[in-house]
Symmetry: D4
Subunit: 252 residues, 8 copies
């Protein structure tokens, strides 16, 4: 319910079409229901290219397909993360236009094209980090950003990184995806001017403790201007990056 509906209600009270008691009852629950919030949600859909994201981990293929169908029926773009082949099969059966970004483990159905603005660079340390990097890249694209992919430039061979530095510097926000010791975030954070979002990955073994090593390293980065999201959370980094890029694009 938006401000127009509130005013309509008040006009009804003024005109005597609605009793004060009925209006009071309606208004009492108002803030808890939807003033503005639903509007915000609609705004979000318009700007980001999707209304609600389906996190597939732990959901049945059938459930995922039904949610996707409901969103598509409402004319909204669909984005389903952490999706496996089975989930894609179920969605595809109901929504033949759905696309599966295999590396990113994302199912996408575009109902309304989102015009691209600005640029996010997604940089990854090793090839094993690519699924998380692709989750970030595909999500950022779905949110209306151009994406520069710079993969496999880990610090063990730092010349590879320098060769790609111009490409990285060309973006308005940089997402750095790295497992093991996560040093890449500090190195890039020290080389660029733009905001840098670090995504630790669970890649590694032994004392990487499922990504803890990279997470702690990134939190302790000696480069200022680096912020961190959860282990393997490429999606969250991309949403953050898209918010930054939209600000830069001056659209709002």
């Amino acid at each position: 319910m938006g401000i127009l509906e509130i005013m309509e209600l008040l006009e009804g009270v003024k005109a005597g079409d609605i009793t004060v008691a009925d209006a009071a009852e309606h208004l009492k629950s108002l803030p808890y229901e939807d003033i503005g919030f639903a509007n915000i949600d609609h705004h979000r859909a318009l700007r980001q290219g999707f209304a609600e994201v389906i996190f597939c981990q732990g959901k049945q293929p059938g459930q995922i397909a039904q949610i996707a169908q409901r969103l598509a029926a409402a004319g909204e773009n669909v984005l389903a993360t952490r999706a496996d082949e089975a989930a894609y099969g179920a969605v595809k059966a109901l929504l033949p236009g759905a696309v599966y970004h295999r590396d990113a483990r994302i199912i996408e159905l575009v109902c309304a094209q989102v015009p691209k603005k600005g640029c996010v660079a997604v940089v990854s340390a090793g090839t094993a980090d690519i699924p998380v990097a692709e989750e970030a890249a595909v999500t950022a694209e779905a949110c209306g950003c151009n994406v520069s992919r710079v993969y496999d430039v880990g610090v063990a061979g730092i010349h590879r990184l320098f060769a790609k530095l111009d490409k990285i510097k060309g973006a308005q926000c940089v997402i750095v995806v790295a497992g093991m010791e996560g040093a890449l975030a500090s190195v890039i954070g020290g080389l660029i001017e733009r905001p840098c979002i670090a995504v630790p990955t669970s890649i590694g073994y032994g004392a990487s403790f499922g990504g803890l090593s990279a997470l702690l390293a990134m939190l302790n980065s000696c480069a200022a201007g680096v912020a961190v999201v959860n282990i393997d959370n490429g999606f969250g980094a991309a949403v953050m990056a898209a918010k930054i890029v939209r600000l830069a694009a001056g659209g709002e």
Copy 2:
């Protein structure tokens, strides 16, 4: 702002005293301001015997004294936890009626007596746990509960506990305070019918890791009906217990 004020506003709209635009503006921000929330706070004060508790740790004596004075000026009972002698000195200078519960590290000023209802038993394992136990006991009393203190009945000499079991069973809610291995919570949880709130303490050394040992033990209690609060959080346990006892007292 309550329902009466909303109706008054609507009557104003109906009567033409307030424009629709003004009323809409007012209503839009309504939920974010104060409907009911402030009222709830006043209710809390009436029922619990204190409005706001001062957590002294990390505050200067002077700051504590000023907050206490402001609360007392409003006619509210004052409770200041984790208070040391210096804090008490500062409060005492401004509020001569303030009392210092030394064992509990609590400063209290009673402006309006709260009638006592129901009973909370506070049980502690060792003498070193007494500061936390007293924090719980004094807080529960300040919240309007009678308190049965049963101290130094740790499981290493379990006959001491059995000798006090009737006293413990006489309460409507039991707070168990224990450090080290925290076994007392499980033993009592298995012996009584009433809700049991476990407070791990930081008492111990070495592999007690500052109370982690007792905390984990209590969370894993094999006795159903045991819930746990933060390490050394006697205050929180007492507030929970007081809520339970008030329910039992039927006052609400």
Copy 3:
């Protein structure tokens, strides 16, 4: 053995039917056997609607079925938690009246209806938390409580929570089930007057560390009057809640 049996034994000694030596031998082991304890157990059964709960995790379907059959043969209500389909199949074969609460992973067989008293609200943050929430809800119902289910009201869209606040406030005790950052417990703890029991869940990934994140958050809740149970322990929360509600119901 209850007080009546003790008196009968003493009458036998007085009458000379039992020798002092025999009676002494019998009495010596008495407290370690069953005075009162068994009575307590019987009382528990009458009040809670079940005598002993079967924790199925790690047990074979055949074992579960046999325990269930033994309880049912004694006329007691049966509650088996963490049960999978195989366990239900085995129980169903022996006890055709058994019902499987699939979402809750609970098998139930009601031999004697328990009259419902009072109300527990079970609130969950996300859809993935529902199995734990249902474990709590079904258990609370089996213990004789009415249950208000309020699901999927996580803090990321806090208006959903406010829309259900009246329903939550109508309960005498609130169980809050949340994974990931577990913030819902603090938000609800700050909004309600009633005791609040927080259940962290293992839902999440990466730095949720199997529920540790939600557990720590709930233990550190800035809202007083929140107590916590083990990760995923919907059952334990419900037993605690039922004890509180029974107190409130004044039945004891």
Copy 4:
């Protein structure tokens, strides 16, 4: 060495003033010395209003004062974080114009005013979090941002937050500072459209484990678009926020 110097060298080769061997030797070590890097540093100073920040923790007052003097002598703005009274005394003696932001524990000396652009909101949960919040706020101001301070709006009394929501939404980037369970980051992250940077603080006791509780909660935030910095790192959050706001201001 910048591009002009490289060209000068090449002109020398072309003119025969420098032998190919000498030039090759010079160029070989070039990238490891300073091409562009120093320039970048100069750019940073111009844009951010400070060249290098002094992290005082673990440094002697005399050392801090000397570094500050050297920076000031170069005409650069000085910012010294985690500074105590003794450090301020030492700096003040050499640089009488230095100002001490006591709450923020920051010493500042402005040599060249930085024009303010855009706005960062700094939101804190409790009064104990204010030192970290002020470190963020003063740093953001030094970086050329306007700052909206919204303090003491923790989730235990969530109406306080809603009353300030418009102020928070007015900023282009929001820094959320919270200890204990850190729930405020998730609540705000779910209410606003803008990028949100969460700063866990070490405020708390027991199972807060020096800020670990808030850190994990923020990393696991169910609200997308929240990124996290190190515990108590108000400075780092502000640098990140300033980078975002400058992007939004379109200055670059």
Copy 5:
């Protein structure tokens, strides 16, 4: 090389059959080879009833069977712990006399009966702890001890424990096996005079963290005279207990 061989060597020197240089060279490396150590091993076999124990976890059935066969060929008793059905099948094929203690997950082949001396009590908290308890019990028997099994006497129903206290006190050493909160070790440690060895088990879920909860609780036991072995290490506890009981039996 034993003392006899050393003397033989010396006789050779005395007789002039071996040069001093050769003997010196031989003696120099002596301690690194086998003086006494092998003898010690033989002594161990005679007293404990087994020479070397096969820890099956991570070994192939075929490997286990071959080691068992080699030991049996040497006339030694065989004990293989953490053995599954497949391992038993492989051993049985080569050594038809081998017995499989299914609950204990132990394969045993007795070549020479060991006379039983003294008594170890093995006490467990829950039925799920029985595999570890049986590993302890069967190992203790193989080491020549009588074993009293007292199972399912966890502290949630402490009367069950008291009913068995005489049986427990009759032993010279008590092994306490418990998971979850591990409180049973402290309760028994406070009730008995004899040495008590606590075995934490990995039984539990959530915040039991694979046995960490019970382990920490047992290490922090408020009862003096309790020592702890690794999580699930029933074998190690039994070897320790057997050493104690043999001392008590005065056989050495």
Copy 6:
């Protein structure tokens, strides 16, 4: 209350001197009071040479002195662990016969000499471990054991250990005290036949994490027959060792 008193009561019932109701009431509370438990405590005093040990950490010198005086007045030997100079001063003022074992941080007052039986070896890795080793040694002596001290034989210079092996093997129970990597426990556990109790110490820095490193190493010892007590718990190890040695001495 012992068996004689129960029989006396029954005789009273038989004779009609005590009504059945009175006797029943008396018997009902029996187990929770003191059957045997107090007796056990008296037995403990007689055998161990001390009744109750004062753990001084966290207690005021005055409190310690008063407890010591009360124990001495009852004719019991006094042992106060973790005592500093101030505590000793306070005790000495009241009990001039008290002795301070400075290295062990133990105050002792012998009222009744305990005859020494058997032998405990206390072995320590480094000189920094001596306070914990001495706590064990002095406690074991107070419990009536002879003690062989073997200090500074850490594995970094393993020949020092071999030179003392006979002395170690001469004891009936060995206490191994080591910090850092705690390897000494495994090496000794593999060399001796007797029960071995390992005491990790908090000696070390960095990744020793306050003794965690040594604790984990000792729990994972590859030598069977090693059990572990809490970090720095020399007292607990000595009580365990004394129980073992008394068993071996055949006195009971």
Copy 7:
């Protein structure tokens, strides 16, 4: 790009074939591309006998085979670690000369024999540590070292170690592989003069926490001159050892 190419470029400038602007542009990006770095890589291949190692964990057999084929096509030796049978099958199909070191889980294809220099001793504590030890041994051989294998000499039977000490001392660098309590590293570190590299393994259970126990023990080794690599990282230890041995061999 090497120094020759730089000189060629400069000659072009001198000769007027290349404009200063073009050369400047080319040189500006130079360091970020490949000066020296590629050369270094070629040097590495010549010296170590392999150019790039394939870490198979998490890669598909097909991917592994393709990378191997590409390396072989370039005439480089191939080393693929953490390879299972499926990976070997895929590689073998493309490169029939490939050999599978089953115990080491390494696939190797030798295109150019590397002459062996110096000697590395690989010492392991238990048979379960052999896969990691073999990963180290085979890698060291592939790097051009001779390898002395000394397996199953854990400290629980320390005489086995002493019997092999001469063999260990004969090497220029010693790799110690151990799980559980990891004590072997300290014992060997104290006995030898040469650099010692410790590899903790994930062998163990319970409180070994996946190798954490051995890792911490090794980091806290009381023997100076011991350095540690990641849990199970036999490969990394071997590369470090090979670098040391090559230094000793004086080849560089």
Copy 8:
């Protein structure tokens, strides 16, 4: 006892001066005493320039001075690490020639100059890491190595590192000292051919957890050929490095 004494004993047997039985008894305990081990220690002193290092942490100034005096009296070089001013005062009073390396917290007394061979580079990330770096540098010099110090080249400004790369590559072994995220070790490990020893420091705050962050990062380094020592263990790294450099120097 050395080889000469063994031969003397054997001559005695040959000559009939010593009985075979006496000689056998003497020889039996031989290996446990001192064959060779003491010799090894003497070799160590000759080669490394010091016999035994005094770790001052936790020792009294007086104790330190006495040990130093005893070593000096034996003509050995003295090295005392983790020494504060008070310790130096005490040593200086007894040994006026002692020098205090303030930054390194090391007291040194050179009795016999050790000729320098080879070179170790000590590289540190930040100025706060210098005490640990100096501990490494001074120790390496005392062990007879030349040392190249390269300080304050952390990855946040990676051009500083490249400017010093030649200096680093000139060493035969590189020690990398870094706190916070410890990324420097990976970057250097990827740039150099020589063995690299990483020393994590406890520099940092919040989620650095006392050096854990840097430690885990270094253990997970993506650069092969990096080994790690304990947090802040500059001494241990230097001993390891000196062993490597001596090997390279070909002196042994």
